[in-house]
């Protein structure tokens, strides 16, 4: 299923601050997007895709925001663009995010995507998109499965 939301979805709407103070990450999924769309956390399933407009994830630095989406089973977030801390956090914890500035994807769209090359095909509208490529270091982090694994392996950051 593809869920579509608007611009400026802030982190309080993704996961309210009152639920963030926990290490029991599964509980985050019970409240994901609660104040935006109370039905979302009840219906979201493994492999679903969240699509949004501009500035997705603005507001707090809480990593619990991408974690809540990941815990709920969301496989990919596509947005016209992302707030910077959310974007870094998503890559760091291994939640796939693609930036597509000109998408017109609608609720329930039939999407086929490839995270490797950032190609997204909207079969409902017969449109094809190419996501903005990631900087190399982000690609490396994503390919290692997140920053924890990356540092476990490399012990420090490496450029180029």
């Amino acid at each position: 299923m593809v869920y579509v939301y608007g611009d400026n979805i802030d982190t309080d709407r993704i996961i309210p601050g009152k639920y963030t103070k926990t290490l029991d990450l599964e509980t985050l999924a019970d409240h994901v997007m609660e104040d935006l769309d109370p039905m979302f956390c009840k219906s979201v399933k493994q492999g679903d895709v969240v699509v949004a407009g501009y500035n997705f994830g603005c507001g707090s630095s809480r990593e619990q925001a991408p974690l809540a989406l990941k815990q709920a089973g969301v496989a990919l977030v596509i947005a016209k663009d992302f707030a910077r801390i959310f974007f870094r956090n998503a890559i760091n914890i291994g939640l796939a995010v693609l930036e597509i500035g000109d998408h017109t994807i609608e609720h329930g769209a039939d999407l086929v995507y490839n995270l490797e090359d950032g190609k997204v095909i909207d079969q409902s509208q017969g449109k094809e998109y190419n996501a903005t490529p990631l900087p190399d270091i982000m690609l490396d982090i994503l390919n290692e499965g997140g920053l924890v694994n990356y540092l476990n392996k490399h012990k420090n950051y490496q450029l180029g």
Binding site: D35, S61, A83, I137, K155
Partner: protein, 406 residues
Amino acid sequence: MTISEKIISNHIGKHVKAGDLVITPVDGVMATDTTAPLAIKAFEQMGASALFDPNKVALILDHAVPPPNERIANLHKLMRDFSQTHGNRLFDIGQGICHQVMVEHQYVKPGDIFIGADSHTPTYGALNAFACGVGSTDLAATMMTGQIWLKVPKTILIECTGRLKEGVSAKDLILFLVGELTISGATYQAIEFVGEAFQTMTLASRMTVANMVAEMGAKAGIVHPDGLELDYPFQSVVPDVDAVYEKVFRFDVSDLEPQVAVPESPDNVRPIQEVVGTKINYAFIGTCCNGRLEDLQAAAKAVDGKRIKSGVRFLIAPASQQTLLDAMDDGTIQLLINAGASIITPGCGPCVGTHQGVPGDDEIVISAANRNFRGRMGNPNAQIYLASPASVAASAVAGEIVLINE
């Protein structure tokens, strides 16, 4: 070079420009009880055995203090235990909000690069430092390596000429600017603030300004060091005359009126005049944006010896224990309590809806905080207006939103 380019260049020992990807050493890092537990977990999972430098790492209990339940009490315990093991400083409950504490205890100084696991970390731009917010895993990586990767940001220059009128504060100015640039107006970019309006500001007011660059999506917000006074010697960083800016905004702010951000976004800004008469249930002063001594003093002055309206509650969370002591010393706290205010533990307080001061359904809050997103204070059915401490206090007395310099 811009201020950001200069600070980063100084740290990596070569000239960088906007757009360059760099790995830079940092001068300090901090995390709070919202972000540190996940950072500690990630730090351990990374296989890290020691902090890069325990003297440059601070953990702060501020977001939910004292802890309202066993879950949070245990997260606090985890942070205390970690600090004991690794030798970093832990600021325990009641010592204050992370950003206030970092500045008061000089964990960050002019020209530094500072990384905080909190989105309002750019506040230290008030000190002419390059400071940005990250999430827990990034923070863990920096606690381990002492470094961070980042893209040198482009810079937006905001020049404000003219002096603010009496009764118009740094908060009114930054609300106005957030309204102009919008909530995504500076995403991925740094902002430099320059001009007479900032030159004459105290450090506290500069912190209010830099604090709310987070509400424009900025990576950092740096106030030009002109007029900055600190009680220790420092070397400031100024931009070159030929620095390249992505955009330049110029405003004459000498006629600026008190501002308000109406629900449910900090960039829904208008002159407070337009919402005068809106009934309120709850007034709140505090936070990393406006919980400092000068803010409490402005509130006491606005209250002017009167009682708050019956049926209205007025909560004040001083930004730090030092703030509370100072405000007791000069009698500000007594004035506020006599007006009917309730003083709560220094810390984030009701700002983020975690533990105390949650509004009821359909209630209207006027707050000196920086965010009014739906559900921010813990109840999605309440509405939050953001204004200066003086406007908040005067509204608490009137029971409705007022224009203070009437």
